[in-house]
Symmetry: C2
Subunit: 170 residues, 2 copies
């Protein structure tokens, strides 16, 4: 698909078809995610693929009852690997680079999903402790249900570009 | 350009041609950046475009003497707008969502640059206070020189996908 089409077709999707994602497609997804840049090429993040229905339901619960999450066949949980970044970059790696590495990887995942005919929503509102109970002891920074879309979303509003952009100074 | 070509052609570039980036191209860049997703569509980030040579040199200095930064015709500084996210999302917005919004926008900027025939490097190592002295009082999370590439980079190594990916649990 053309890059600009991917950019324009990426929307939050909260209704998913029950169709499974086949292994080949998941492999392509992971390949694209893996090409995301990271501080010092360390890729200081870990990605948990959650397929088990009871785990998906638990994640929906941990995300303050956003029930649509467990209707996707796969839920990705991106976690910052703070220790990995800390070893090379100290405190800044721990608190910033690992969160950024995981965030960049999740950004790639959303675009890769569109390329592969899939759709996602980025879920940021969740109880971190509860998510850790489900997937393990690293800092989760994004829950991302992924599957075939079963709705046509509307584009969401944007700030005017002139409000976001500043020349030389804020 | 095809999405996968953009993904594969994105590399860190530290040698730039002296050619300026024309206004139309910068507008296209900003348009793509602006389509990046954000928490609650708030776009809790600000983007500073730095063209002035003395400011570019100051940014290189603030980035611990990474002199290649000021050789790019434009240096983008992505800043988290913590107050903007805090108003809707409280502490989590302030410390996480605003950093993520700015990080996602910077990720889009790198890919958009490739689409437009430009190149970038993501610079994360810098003195935050010093950067604030140059561009203003928000939290800078990425310095990104952008211009026409004057080198052909090698692909960088990646962790094996099976090491990054976990099924159900970390």
């Amino acid at each position: 698909m053309e890059f600009l089409d991917v950019i324009h077709k990426r929307h939050s999707i909260r209704q998913f078809d029950s169709k499974e994602i086949d292994v080949k497609k998941l492999e392509s997804l992971l390949q694209i995610i893996s090409s995301a840049p990271s501080a010092g090429d360390l890729q200081s993040y870990e990605l948990v693929l959650v397929k088990d229905q009871s785990h998906r339901e638990a994640l929906a619960h941990a995300a303050l009852g956003q029930e649509f999450i467990h209707t996707a066949p796969v839920v990705l949980v991106f976690c910052a690997n703070a220790d990995r970044a800390k070893q090379k970059y100290g405190h800044r790696g721990e608190i910033l680079y690992s969160v950024q590495d995981a965030t960049i990887a999740a950004t790639y995942a959303q675009l890769a999903a569109v390329e592969l005919g899939l759709a996602t929503t980025w879920v940021g509102a969740f109880d971190e402790e509860y998510v850790r109970d489900i997937v393990g002891e690293l800092k989760p920074i994004c829950i991302m249900p992924i599957g075939y879309p079963a709705e046509k979303p509307e584009p969401t509003p944007r700030r005017p570009i002139k409000d976001i952009t500043h020349y030389e100074h804020l």
